[in-house]
Symmetry: C2
Subunit: 301 residues, 2 copies
C-alpha cells in the first residue's frame, strides 16, 4: 500500500476561488473579519482576493481594500490572483506576500477565460512573474483544466507539462495543477503525476481539486501516495462550478483536514477555528455549504 | 501504485438503508415504480426493504406488499433485511432471493440497535441463517460499526473478526462491513482489511461505507487496492445519519459509478437509468440528495 507524508500544507483559496463563484455578495467588513478568523486557524497560506479587473469578477472588486484592512499574521503567506502588470501594481500597493498567475493547459479554455491564446499569454505572465520576483514575492503558477476541459475534453499530460515548463523558465516558485471542472478520478492523477514529477520535484507541485463529482478526497489520497504535500482547498467547499449551477466547487478545507487528521498527518491547523470561519461565511451566504464534514459537525453543535 | 479490479459489483441499498433514514414517507406505489426502474439499471442486487418490526422502522412497514408487487428482473438478486424468524417467514412469503442478517461489532451499539447483547444475538441469527440457507436463499451478514461506534469510540479489527467468524460458522455466504457512522479514513480501511482478509477471501467481503464526512469514495479506492470488488451504496446518497440530522448517509451509487466508470472498471450498470431513478426519488422526497455527481448531472439536463 502507498504511504503518505508526515506534514501537508493547505492553501486556503475560499476568499478568492470560493467567493468568485458565489452569487451572494459579501461586504468588505465581513470579508476582513472572515479572513482574520482564517488567519488564526493555523493555515499557512491564504489567497485573499483577485486583482483581475472587477468587470470580470465583480464579487472581488474590493480586493485592494480587503488587502489593506486584513490583520496580517506573520505565519501566514497572503497571496492574490494576478492577471497582468496592472493587477500586480495594485496588489503590491494593497500588500501581498505571494502572487498567483494563471493560465490553462487547454487552448480553448485559455481563450475563453483570458481572451488570449496560450502563446499570447506567455509574455504577459513572464513580465508579471519577473516583476513579482524582483519585488521579493513568492510566485505560484496556476495551470487550469489539467485533466479535462469543458470545451475540448481530455487534456494530455504533455499539454500540461508544456505549459509548466514555460512557467518554470519564467521563474515561478511552484505550480498548482487545477482540476477546474472536477472530473478527475485517481487513475488520471496517476497519468498526470507520472509525467509532471519527471520534470518537477514533488515539493514544487500543488494539487488543486474541485469536488464537482465527489472525487476530490480520493484524488488527494492518490496524490499523497506520489509524495505531493501541498493542496489548495476552500473553506466549507465554498464556491460553485461556473459550468453547472448548483454543483460543488473547490474541495472543502474541512473535509481535507478531516482526512489528514484521521491519517495522523500534521497540518498545524485547528479544526474548531476552521469550523468557526466556515459557519460565519455560511451564515453570510445564507445557504448550506457543500462540505459533508462541516454539515456533520454543524449538526452536533 | 495499487491496482484495481476489472469488475465491481454494487448492491443498491437505497430502498432499505436509504429510505429507513428519511422522514418523508414514500407511497408503496412509488416504491414499486422506483425499484422497478432500479431493476433496469444493470445493478446485480437490490435490498428492497426490511422485515424488522414496523414499530422500529415505520418507513418500511410495507415491505411485504412491496415485495409482492415489484417486477422481478431475473438478473437481479432481491434481498431484504431480516432480524429474526418472524421476519424471515414474512420475507419468504413476499419473495426474496437473499436474506441480510445484521449485528454490531460494538457491544453497546448492538444493545441499542437490537436490544440484545452480542452473545444473545448469535443464536437468533444462527437460526435465521440456517433456515434461510435451507430455503435456498443467499445470506449476507452485515456487521455494523466496524471502525468507530457512536457510543464506544474506536472498534478494533479483532472485535470485528470475532463477529465475522461466528457468522461464517453459522453459514453466511458473505459479510458486509459497515462504517455505520461514516468516520473512517483509508488508514482505518488498511488496519481492518489487513486482519479480515487473513480470515476471508476477498470475494466474500463487501464494504459498506457511509459518506457522513465525505471520505467514502477514498475508502472505496483503498478497499479496491486490497482486491475488494463488492460495495453497498444508496442511489443519490439517499438516507441520512440517525446520529446527526442533516448529515449524509450511505455513499451515493451515482458517485461510486462515476469513480468506477472513470477508472475503466466494469459494473454492467447504466448511468442514465440510475440518474432517472435518483431524480424520481429526489422529486418524491422533495429535497436535494447529497450525491455531488448527481447534482452536477442534474444541473446539465
Amino acid at each position: 500500500m502507498g504511504r503518505w507524508p508526515e506534514f501537508v500544507q493547505i492553501k486556503e483559496v475560499g476568499p478568492r476561488d470560493g467567493l468568485q463563484n458565489e452569487k451572494q455578495r459579501i461586504s468588505t467588513a465581513d470579508k476582513v473579519h472572515w479572513i482574520n478568523t482564517l488567519s488564526e486557524s493555523g493555515v499557512k497560506e491564504i489567497e485573499y482576493s483577485s486583482f483581475v479587473h472587477p468587470k470580470w469578477v465583480p464579487a472581488l472588486s474590493d480586493a485592494h481594500e480587503v488587502g489593506r484592512r486584513i490583520r496580517r499574521n506573520p505565519d501566514v503567506r497572503y497571496s492574490a490572483l494576478i492577471p497582468n502588470m496592472k493587477g500586480l501594481e495594485l496588489a503590491l500597493e494593497a500588500g501581498i506576500d505571494g502572487a498567483s498567475v494563471f493560465m490553462s493547459a487547454s487552448e480553448t479554455h485559455n481563450r475563453k477565460n483570458i481572451n488570449k491564446t496560450i502563446n499570447e499569454t506567455y509574455p504577459v505572465l513572464q513580465e508579471v512573474i519577473q516583476e513579482a520576483k524582483n519585488a521579493g514575492k513568492h510566485v505560484t503558477g496556476y495551470v487550469s483544466t489539467v485533466f479535462d476541459c469543458p470545451y475540448e475534453g481530455k487534456i494530455t499530460p504533455e499539454q500540461v507539462t508544456r505549459v509548466c515548463e514555460r512557467l518554470a523558465e519564467f521563474g515561478v516558485d511552484d505550480i498548482s495543477l487545477g482540476d477546474t471542472i472536477g472530473t478527475a478520478v485517481p487513475s488520471q492523477v496517476d497519468q498526470l503525476l507520472d509525467e509532471v514529477l519527471e520534470q518537477f520535484p514533488h515539493e514544487k507541485v500543488i494539487m488543486h481539486f474541485h469536488d464537482t463529482r465527489g472525487m476530490a478526497i480520493a484524488n488527494i489520497m492518490r496524490s499523497m501516495e506520489y509524495g505531493i504535500t501541498r493542496f489548495d482547498s476552500s473553506i466549507g467547499g465554498l464556491g460553485g462550478c461556473p459550468y453547472a449551477p448548483g454543483a460543488a466547487g473547490n474541495v472543502a478545507t474541512n473535509d481535507v483536514l478531516y482526512l489528514l487528521n484521521g491519517l495522523g498527518i500534521d497540518t498545524g491547523m485547528d479544526e474548531k477555528k476552521l469550523q468557526e470561519a466556515a459557519l460565519f461565511i455560511q451564515s453570510k451566504l445564507g445557504k448550506t455549504l457543500p462540505s459533508k464534514s462541516l454539515a456533520y459537525a454543524a449538526s452536533q453543535s
